[in-house]
């Protein structure tokens, strides 16, 4: 009798433990967002929301007139991220298709872990590569004098988002039921046709989700872009101009800003904008991924 009671108690204790773990993650997220939001809101006592989002000039420490427009930074972030996706998506899908359908299993066993190790390279190291390797190369190729620009950032972020894109795309290509493959080949399609007309479309939602998760990683990356893009505040004239992303701006200025000033609050407001952007991207990826899993069942 006592033993049974004890067992019951133990079970409910374990249950409670896992429940707390589950709730904790939610609490942390809600807590972070609440802190961000409450610290960001005072910024708008002095800055107009439309001015904040639509003006191009950001110069809070200006001796002439403090300006708080983040449009240049939003565009810079989108440019660097977009450029990264432009490079990483075709390569990523190519590698995923190669690994899932073309490569010998032995090659796959070697290449896949290597791709995953790529994700473990610290961002400072990638940023350093941007300064000493890609920067000078870009300067030579495009005759720009220096290589601290959006292209450099895009290449580095592409490298950083590749592992996510490859890994998840490959998983979703592998999850396509073998029957699709066999049916296509039986109908006389070549392996190339089967891969690109049957398997990739069948795995498309997984691949899109992979790209979005890769994008989420690229948008939030700080150190790499801080080191490699030059951080000029001007509105970007093109991919060869030096840009400052939202993350880099927060990292540069938060260390020095006097606390509880408009500048301080404004930096948190940039954090909120960034949070919302990554949240939307991750949410979209999640929805697409779910849809895909439902169809599978």
């Amino acid at each position: 009798m006592i033993k049974k009671k004890w067992a019951n108690l133990k079970e409910s204790a374990i249950r409670a433990f896992f429940l707390t773990c589950g709730i904790l993650a939610v609490l942390v997220l809600v807590g972070i967002f609440a802190t961000l939001l409450t610290t960001a809101i005072p910024a708008f006592k002095e800055i107009h929301l439309s001015e904040f989002l639509l003006k191009k000039n950001w110069d809070p420490t200006s001796p002439e007139k403090a300006e708080y427009g983040i449009l240049s930074m939003i565009v810079s972030t989108l440019m660097v991220t977009g450029g990264a996706l432009l490079l990483a998506v075709p390569i990523g899908i190519g590698v995923a298709a190669y690994l899932s359908d073309v490569a010998h299993w032995r090659v796959r066993e070697i290449v896949k872990p290597i791709v995953e190790i790529l994700a473990a390279i610290p961002s400072v190291v990638v940023g350093f590569l941007g300064i000493v390797l890609f920067g000078p190369a870009i300067a030579k190729i495009f005759h720009t004098g220096n290589g601290l620009n959006a292209v450099n950032g895009s290449i580095l972020l592409a490298i950083m988002s590749l592992p996510t894109i490859i890994s998840i795309s490959e998983d979703s290509l592998n999850a396509v039921p073998p029957a699709y493959n066999e049916a296509s080949l039986a109908l006389g399609a070549s392996r190339w046709q089967t891969l690109f007309r049957v398997k990739v479309p069948a795995a498309l939602s997984g691949i899109i989700a992979a790209c979005m998760l890769g994008m989420g990683r690229a948008i939030g990356e700080t150190m790499t872009v801080l080191m490699a893009t030059g951080n000029a505040r001007a509105f970007p004239h093109g991919f060869l101009s030096s840009v400052r992303t939202m993350t880099a701006n927060i990292a540069i200025e938060l260390g020095e800003v006097p606390y509880y000033t408009t500048h301080y609050y404004a930096l948190f407001a940039i954090g909120v904008v960034l949070f919302i952007m990554t949240f939307i991207v991750n949410m979209a990826a999640d929805i697409i991924l779910h849809k895909y899993q439902e169809r599978e069942q």
């Binding site: 001796p63 000029a232 001007a234 200025e253």
Partner: protein, 295 residues
Amino acid sequence: MKKLTIIVLATLTLLGGLLLGAKMIQIKGSDTMVNLVQILAEEYMGKTPGSAIAVLGGGSGTGITGLINQTCDIANHSREWKPKEIDQAWEKGVTPRFFIIAVDGLSIVVNAKNPIEKLTMAQVGALYRGEIKGWRTLGAYDKPVSLYGRQSNSGTYVFMQEFVLGNKNYSADMKEMNGNAQIIESILQDEGAVGYVGVGYLYDQTGKIRKGLKIIKISKDPNGTGYLPTDKAAVDSGNYPISRPLYMATNGKPKADVAQFLAWVCGPEGQAIVEREGFFAIGPAHRAQNDKNLK
């Protein structure tokens, strides 16, 4: 239960006491000064057994904020405090005292391929305000100007803005680099580059000026003679126009161990290291002021 609380509290107090007893002097601030102060601290620790000093960079603003929030014992700063910062300090009961420990000639550098030799203060200001777009305008070669500067948390950034730019905005096209060393690396590669760095960063390990770098002579007015920041006499006499004192600040009268360190830094041994690292030693007027602040 009560007993337990008392025991826990007592242990915590003891531990806290032990940690404080270690007396680690925390120094934070200017990136221009971080290498110099690091070396000063190492030499001092080597000579004074039992002393422990930790030196962090982060920029003058970071150091000043640190002193205001009492997270460091000494703030290194390469610019003066803003009135707002002094107000904040007073509000928190912090009364800063300033010690000038070295003099820095801020140097304007370009790529060695650039034919330009001399600029006036006004021209440097115009370059950094973004008013001059090409080197041709200044009589040099046909390359676009590519501006390199520090990030806004740097004392050098603020000093340049106040002193050379005439308190006007920097050009938004200026690339804001993480530190002096990164500016130098970029200038070595970029033929259109112009940058500003502390004199200490101009030399390589053997004490020679870095190869591929050209230091520009600066004159006060268009017809005046240009002087180099590496010319000690010119910096001392004020003929080199862009020079500035480097400060250490403490909260009120420095405690015994901090005071001992400061006295050593301002004394002959410390100043010899200052000169060895490429900065300029302080003059008698500054020394007298420092001595007064130590008491």
